[in-house]
Amino acid sequence: MSDYQPVLLANIHREDSHKLAVYEAAGGYRALRKTLREKSPQEVVGIVRASGLRGRGGAAFPTGLKWSFLPEGHPGPIYFCVNADESEPGTFCNRVQMEHDPHQVLEGTILSCYATRASTAYIYLRYEYPLAYRRLQDAIAECYEAGYLGKNILGSDFSLDIHIHRGAGAYICGEETGLIESIEGKRAWPRIKPPFPAVEGLFRKPTVVNNVETLTCVVHILDRGVEWFQSLGVPPDPDNPRDAGSYGPKLYGLSGHVNRPGVYELPLGVRCGELIEEYGGGVWKGRRAKAVVPGGVSTGLMSQSELDTPLDFAGPVSVGCLGLGTAGVVVLDETYPIIDFLYNSCRFFAHESCGQCTPCREGTRWALRILERIKGGRGRLGDLDLLAEIGEGIGIIPGTTICGLADGAAWPIKTALRKFRDELEDYIRRTNPTGYMATGPAEAVDVAEVA
């Protein structure tokens, strides 16, 4: 166990940690005061770029680079969106931050708006976080009162308004252009890119969308400096020119079959097994892990033999997963059927597919139908190949859909089939002993029955 002292979570165990006075007493808004006094927006962008901070929301795109795509000298308005639509199954770190340390989120937002010259920020908050909503609301009110928000913040010529925009139960709103459409009052169908939001985003104006945890990292980068940030985590692989590295602290949300589920802050790169054993108190009921989701369901599965994998941005990829995702680590013990994982995951994505692109809309539902049939004891061995092919078509072949939701739907299928094929075949043989070899189309079902 490392002796790492949490930074992002340093405040959350204090009493009334969500209140301004407590946050300020712990050094809150120091970074904002200092930055507004000493740094120009360009300098802030430069610092964040130099830090190597990569987005914590799942795509791991370099934050400073994203900011630098904004058109120079734009007359405005420029909009800033905080992606607080945390909906990836297995992911809850943003919730903890917003509930227990809303001012840290706000300080990160204010700093990032200063850097990007945004004059209005919207926090897109999923509706299922009522406590976070109340805490953020109160914190915003405190900020206006204290001069951290509104006109001429802390006497500078920088002004900012922050509004909370609550979602309504749609996973796709976590996709940045889906989020933008949703704020605009439309169905959250992601936009085709280009144009990218930095050029034409919310209300057709330049827009930046950043994740909650990413913004809290910005606070500490500006407070403690680039060197501190890069002293944590994993530097880029010198042999891979495209690796942007995995610097900084990271919140790992541990859940599933572990003894101590919760949020753990560690430098990027902790080994999965270490996280489970040292921090999570090991797999529950004295069992062994069968599989682990490294970063939200959409990243797929790691098998027990892959638990040595470092949980940085490159680690899960090296064992055939989509990526680190949201670092929502879900542990599944040795008794948990992989077919249930697959079914659960496919049900989620079929339910949450926005229904815009053909392969995702139809493919996620098709995969679910097949899994329903397998679970109903009418599976066939050929179904597994078909599932693999559907997965390829919706999200493995790059570019088949507008956004990444379909990728997220495909990787659980792909990794489960690749790593747990024997178990799945056994399941089909066992549950459908007379028909598992059957080929050809399944029996016809009237659409009215299944709609």
């Binding site: 308005p77 945390e86 909906s87 990836e88 199954p89 297995g90 992911t91 809850f92 943003n94 919730r95 903890v96 999923r126 509706y127 299922e128 976080y129 009522p130 406590l131 109340r134 308004d161 509004h163 925009h165 609550r166 979602g167 309504a168 139960g169 749609a170 996973y171 949703s182 704020i183 605009e184 009052g185 439309k186 169905r187 959250a188 209300f203 949300g253 541990l254 859940s255 599933g256 079959h257 589920p261 919760g262 949020v263 989701v293 369901v297 929502g328 879900v330 599944l332 948990y336 249930d340 994982f341 659960n344 995951s345 049900r347 989620f348 339910h351 949450e352 926005c354």
Partner: protein
């Protein structure tokens, strides 16, 4: 409740108009406005769709397009006084969330999506409540119920019964 010709009460119209300064377009107020309507009426009825369209400078089909996309809004059947979301995503499911969902459904005598005949509870399934650290979890209105067990569900159902019989629930 006084109703304006728009199918929205005066208070709602006022509240929705209060949202408008936050956004550069009237349409952007649609999602928060839908929340306000559903909070007050327990659903978003047809007249409110027409009313919102008029208020926000949209066509009724644009309002309904948005509202039906999100799983959150009800059009025809009003919600129960308590709306319960039981999470069925991986972290909750693997710790018994789906069994507890079924158990709660049996206790209430309804299936997910339905409302008890007395209008007290609407049962819903949630796709990840983001409370995986407290799995299995359930959200009842503004309250998160953590580390659910059958015992906790029993107690929850009992508390609703008592609230209802004592008239303690808002609107009861």
């Amino acid at each position: 409740m006084s109703t304006t010709r728009r199918g929205l009460s005066e208070r709602l119209v006022e509240e929705i108009e209060g949202l408008l300064p936050r956004y550069p377009t009237r349409r952007a107020a649609l999602l928060p406005a839908l929340h306000l309507v559903q909070e007050e009426l327990g659903r978003v009825p047809h007249e409110a769709v027409v009313g919102l369209a008029e208020l926000l400078g949209l066509k009724p089909a644009e309002v309904e397009d948005t509202l039906t996309f999100y799983g959150f809004f009800r059009q025809d059947e009003p919600l129960g006084r308590v709306r319960v979301w039981v999470c069925r995503s991986l972290s909750c499911s693997c710790r018994g969330g789906e069994e507890l969902l079924e158990y709660l459904g049996q206790k209430l005598g309804i299936r997910p999506g339905q409302t008890t005949p007395d209008g007290r509870v609407t049962l819903e399934v949630a796709e990840c409540l983001g409370a995986c650290d407290y799995a299995p979890a359930m959200l009842a209105d503004g309250t998160l119920h953590k580390n659910l067990t059958k015992g906790k569900i029993d107690a929850f159902v009992e508390s609703i019964r008592q609230d209802a019989s004592s008239g303690g629930l808002p609107g009861a």
